[in-house]
Amino acid sequence: MLKKISKFLSVALFIFHLPDVLLAVYFFILFRERSRIADHGILYVVAGLGVYFLVRIVVLSAGGNFFYTRRVRVIREIIEQFKKGRFAPQGVDIVGDDGLATVLKELVMVGRHLDNLVSTQRDEIDKFHELYQNIVFSISSYFVVMDDENAIVFANEGFCKKFQLDVDDIAGRGIEEIFYFVNARLKGGIDKVKKEGSSVILEKTHLLSVNKVSIIADIKISNILIQGRRQIILIIDDVTNKLRKDYQISLMSQISESIQSDMEIERVLYTILTGVTSGSGLGFNRAMLFLVGEDTKTLEGKMAVGPDSFEEAIEIWSATTSMTPVVQKDDSFAIESGKELLKGVLKARLSLDDDNVLVRALMKKTFIHVHDAFVDESVGDEIRELVDVKEFVVVPIVAINRSIGVIVVDNKFNQVPIGNDSIELLTIFSSQAALSIESFNSLVAVKKEMDNISRKQDAIVESEKMAAVGRIAAHIAHEIRNPLVTMGGYARRIVQQSKTLSKESGKTAVNISKAGSIIMKESERLEKILSNVMDFTRPSKYIKEFSSINDVISDTVDLLKNLFLEKKIQVQFDADGDLPLVKSDFNQIKQVVLNLIQNSIDATPTGGIIRVTTRAEEERVVLMVEDSGTGIDEEDPNVVFEPFFTTKVTGVGLGLANVKKIIKDHNGTIEVANREVGGAVFTVMFPVP
């Protein structure tokens, strides 16, 4: 290098000083030849100097030009590098120490300084960018920026990932191309933002993408201005999981509420299946529920929820955007969509002896995931035809180690593959459902039991009431009886006395006798009534022996023979010859039969028919008294057994009450009903030990 420079310098010096050397040689020659050119000496000097200066100028300018070109090149290089943003130029050497070189050197220094500044700034920017990136990534929200024409300008990675879109391919596509349907809420929201310029928040909106990814999201739509142009930004928060959790809790409470509020198992089952199919629930397209029948031999289709067609599915999905209450409180419990599916499922009766996928899941208490029902032979023809879908899952409903049914789910319409996580959720859900169904069933049982108890309680209350009535009646009866017998006794005496008197006093005595006998008879009637009341209220003591009801009836019919003849009533007695004996008080039962038949005679018009039937049934003896009379004109004919109920002018209304009391004391029952052909039928049942 040094050699090169020194060579270069020596050449330059040589070229630079060559004219001087030539000038010196010229003057030396001129001095030697001064004699020959004496006359023209001055001319040679001038000419020589002239040539020298000419050459000098040429040499100088040539050298200057050389250095100039070199420097311009350096400057150009620097500028080139500056243009590229490299403020610290590389491979530039500035030769010399003249003014230009100094300026250039300063320029390079300024450049380096600038470079420092820029790189610090770039670091800042990089840091900020990283931070920004981190922030964007850490936000779970999805961003979509659209232009005025609803074409996508930008969408963040989360969005593309969620909806399985290509990040590079998204720009320029319309929002309608991304989502399978832009539902009315989203569209309305975007339009509103465009029109009014304000932000809109859409809560719990169902979004379904073209490739059938479905989420429920809170969407914020706002205007932004970028370089004077208006754009729409959508911030989409996926709330599906949160909603699902909330929903599952609210669903369980809804189910238990529906169990408590109404006793319709259909509604409970519907609520359960809605939970399985709702977007905010487990999100399956369809769900079917089968329960083991009461005979424990069949699996019966009980309920199904899900659309019948893709159009219906879209309709449902667009409608159920938010968590609208699933269970309608009103009584018009009607299933609007999926009627065909429901019909098909309700008809299904599967024998537990059959071998199909439903029965297997039930028996093994484990879920079965069918991937291709059209190929899988273990599905069973009946099931294949019923579900009519390629992929489905059967989950057993197990309550306390006992399979009570199965839930079948599929994604028939959006054909989303059924993932293990969904199955897991469904399994959990089904065990909750099992508890609901079980608690419903036990609730029904409890209610039945409670009805029983309340009936018994009613009976107790009734007997308490009776006892109270009895005590009062007894008291009154006794208090009245004494003065009554006194009155009646004297009246009787008047009648007797006036008889002996009549022989002498004639007409007056007859009148007295008449009046007396009226008092006497009326007292007797009152006494009879009181006797009835006292009989009814008297605590009964029975002497119970095994006796034949048939004998009692024959006796009684005999006793009443005259009455039948009098009213021309035909009596039929259909006795069961094999009637077991009933442990009873013969006289009391006689009283019962007497009262019942007498009652029938009273109710039956002349020429009517009374039929008495006895029949042996399992562990009891049935006695029926039918008449062709007027029947009982009451909403509940059994009111006739209430004390003091009477339609007769003369009766007290204790006859049938007494009958009921006696039968009750024999642990039997009595009921009355109106016959369709007219008249009443009394049915008495006695237990047979």
């Binding site: 006794h478 009886r481 004494n482 006194t486 006794g489 004297y490 009787r492 006497m520 006494e527 008297r538």
Partner: protein
């Protein structure tokens, strides 16, 4: 000689009615207005039969019945009361008859006659 009957009854009109009716039947009738008086009368006199009411002031018929029978086990007593429920009181079983009061005295008269006849024979 006519049989002597004591009527123990607190209600004056009833007592007098029975007395009249039984006298008409040919009995010799004495009256007492409560149990205590009845017991005293049995102590001091000889009766062939006592007709005894139960609900009476001072001493009721059941107590009087006990007192009379403890003195003389043989004297026949007919309980004549408006209350049929005393039948369940075993003390009344010691009486010879239990007749429920009625304006028609035929039953009472019948019982008295029956008892006295059976005694006479």
């Amino acid at each position: 000689m006519a049989d002597k009957i004591l009527i123990v009854e607190d209600e004056q009109h009833q007592r007098e009615l029975y007395a009249m009716e039984l006298e008409d039947e040919g009995y010799d009738v004495d009256q007492a207005s409560n149990g205590k008086e009845g017991v005293d009368k049995v102590k001091n006199n000889k009766y062939d039969l006592v007709v005894m009411d139960i609900r009476m002031p001072e001493m009721d018929g059941i107590e009087a019945l006990g007192k009379i029978l403890s003195r003389d086990k043989k004297i026949p007593i007919v309980i004549y009361t408006a209350y049929s429920n005393y039948k369940s009181n075993f003390m009344t079983w010691t009486a010879d008859a239990y007749v429920t009061k009625s304006s028609n005295l035929d039953e009472l008269k019948g019982k008295i006659k029956e008892i006295l006849t059976s005694r006479a024979s």
